[in-house]
């Protein structure tokens, strides 16, 4: 077995805001094997999307990047020109808002086949045939007719499926799914997730699945990484994440979601408000002020991310809290 498909190490990103450089990602480390699905979970502003954008080299102008991103052993940060385009052909991205990410004045067919025709040199007729096949795989019938339609003629869920189909057409090895279902209603959401999951297995595709829904990530991903204030605070096998979390923040996230089988009294929100990465102190645990388990040691220094029971946790008390953080019943 060769090395991991994607290796992110010590990734720190600073953006210029009003003349000052503010960190949005701090020392992010992730590894993904080929064909593996990794969930990336966190509240708004925790750096999930920024991580995906950094992987795809899509950061805003003026961003300062430290650390390394390796894809199949190659340093992504050093790529440019044609190499960068080839890399991007192997890493597809699905966005949250399909309507904003498709040029509205071009036909669906133009959009779907553009990468095939211009980047991979596939003849137009062949590209259209593949696009229409792929549409039927994502559950859209009448391919050739759909290819002639414009984006505004399709519903949001339909357009998201078109986007997934377009992303898969270039046969990428890694799919970055940035909250692909957040803009959709719940039933469409389930449908799109099912299609995504099925096609991912069929094509042996690795997927970085970004969401703020811990349960959803756990349901379809092999492992899940939890982010807080621009840092990865926990990485865990998805099966264990909910019942046996390593970090108090994960436990808090899990408890904050109401359980459908029980009538909740009061929702267990995490006290306080989520910190942005640039507000987080550089030398203490960012979650400490909101943490029910915080002790003096939490403010003594930035906790290292350490291995524990097959997972990773960035918490000084993780070993001692082991097993006590399981999702408490909503009494």
């Amino acid at each position: 077995m060769t090395g991991p498909l994607l290796e992110v190490d010590g990734l720190t990103v600073r953006l210029e805001v009003g003349g000052a450089k503010r960190p949005v990602l701090r020392d992010v480390a992730l590894t993904m094997r080929a064909g593996e699905a990794l969930g990336l979970v966190g509240e708004s502003g925790s750096g999930k999307s920024m991580t995906a954008r950094a992987i795809d080299r899509l950061l805003p102008r003026g961003a300062e990047v430290d650390g390394t991103i390796r894809f199949g052993g190659r340093d992504v940060g050093a790529l440019s020109g044609a190499d960068l385009r080839r890399y991007r052909n192997q890493v597809a991205m699905i966005f949250q808002d399909p309507r904003a990410h498709v040029n509205p004045v071009r036909r669906i067919g133009d959009y779907m086949t553009e990468a095939l025709r211009t980047n991979l040199g596939v003849p137009a007729a062949e590209a259209s045939r593949r696009a229409s096949d792929m549409l039927s795989q994502v559950g859209i019938d009448g391919g050739p007719r759909r290819l002639r339609q414009y984006p505004h003629e399709l519903s949001g869920g339909m357009l998201q499926r078109v986007m997934i189909a377009a992303a898969l057409l270039t046969e990428p090895r890694l799919l970055l799914a940035d909250e692909p279902t957040t803009a959709l209603d719940v039933t469409t959401q389930a449908e799109v997730m099912a299609i995504l999951d099925e096609l991912r297995h069929e094509y042996g595709l690795a997927m970085l699945f970004i969401t703020h829904d811990l349960e959803l990530a756990a349901a379809i991903c092999d492992r899940t990484a939890v982010m807080y204030a621009g840092q990865v605070v926990e990485v865990r096998e998805s099966g264990q994440l909910h019942d046996d979390p390593l970090h108090p923040y994960t436990a808090g996230l899990a408890a904050a979601r109401p359980d459908i089988t029980r009538t909740a009294g009061r929702l267990r929100a995490i006290p306080g408000r989520p910190l942005s990465a640039f507000e987080a102190p550089a030398d203490e645990c960012a979650f400490a002020p909101r943490c029910g388990y915080a002790v003096d040691a939490c403010q003594a220094g930035l906790p290292e991310i350490t291995e524990l029971d097959g997972g990773l946790a960035r918490c000084v008390r993780a070993p001692e809290l082991r097993g006590k953080l399981g999702a408490p019943a909503n009494a």
Partner: protein, 286 residues
């Protein structure tokens, strides 16, 4: 949810034209007539526009001569028709040249940003310092009098105006999510700009070009008036004003005035239509 619309979409010609209102439609009609004259003018001219007959100099409208005769006794109406060609063609060349160059610089500046943007933007600022007419006078002095030199010089002088407007539009369009989506698809910058960015800017380019046509017409007429543009005896509206200016003082204003009116009508028509198109293109972007 933010629904991103690209700056614009090109309206279907007829519905679009109706939306510009009565003034817009009248303007379009004036432009259509002028264009028709520019293409078929020399064929339509009832008399030879370049045949002088000094015995008829400054004679007013008689018989088949609708607008009378000019200072050399040539039929004014025939000269107006024949002159439409060079009077319309010059501005057209200026608009096309300055639009292509301006759009190119604008897109490069907006796309590359950083140093490229700084160099291009300061270069444009320097060009802004030269009045178009001055540049054109300079060019004709160096390359000899004629429409070509003047048109090229004006194109260079107008280019910064185009580039500045389009750079702003391109910058705004560049941040649209669909452009990012194309980037992560692995499309090259050239493909994205040529297939998506510029086509989505096209309505504004057309609107800006329409307005600039009017400016170019006045400036080229001025250059021809100064004797540096179209050379006599070739007919041109600017040349006609110049040739017949003495007539205004001598009580024969019609030859110079009719050419001036043609220029004014076409320029106003282009301005009105341009403003309407601009408002439409901008409105669709919001």
């Amino acid at each position: 949810m933010v629904v991103a619309t690209p700056v614009t979409r090109l309206p279907r010609p007829l519905t679009g034209l109706r939306a510009t209102g009565v003034a817009g439609m009248v303007s379009a009609a004036v432009i259509a007539i002028a264009t028709f004259a520019a293409i078929f003018g020399p064929l339509l001219a009832p008399y030879n526009p370049n045949l002088p007959n000094l015995s008829l100099a400054w004679v007013g409208p008689v018989g088949g001569h609708l607008l009378g005769f000019d200072f050399q006794g040539r039929d004014v109406f025939s000269r107006l028709l024949a002159g439409a060609q060079s009077s319309m063609l010059g501005p057209l060349a200026v608009v096309i040249l300055s639009m292509i160059a301006g759009a190119l610089f604008a897109v490069i500046a907006a796309w590359r940003g950083g140093a490229a943007d700084a160099v291009i933007s300061s270069g444009l600022d320097i060009l802004f310092a030269f009045p178009g007419i001055l540049l054109a006078v300079l060019a004709t002095a160096v390359f000899g009098a004629g429409l070509t030199a003047a048109a090229i010089a004006l194109s260079i002088a107008y280019m910064p105006y185009v580039a500045r407007v389009l750079r702003g539009v391109a910058l705004r369009e560049r941040t649209q999510p669909y452009i990012a989506a194309l980037e992560v698809q692995g499309s090259s910058a050239t493909v994205i700009c040529a297939r998506h960015l510029i086509p989505n800017m096209l309505p504004l380019i057309v609107a800006q070009g329409t307005i600039m046509f009017g400016w170019a017409m006045v400036d080229l007429a001025a250059i021809s008036f100064l004797g540096l543009g179209v050379q006599p005896p070739q007919a041109n509206w600017g040349v006609m004003i110049s040739e017949n200016q003495t007539g205004i003082l001598q009580g024969y204003p019609l030859p110079a005035l009719s050419a001036g009116l043609c220029i004014v009508a076409v320029v106003i028509a282009f301005n009105v239509l341009g403003e309407r198109l601009f408002a439409q293109a901008e409105g669709a972007g919001r």
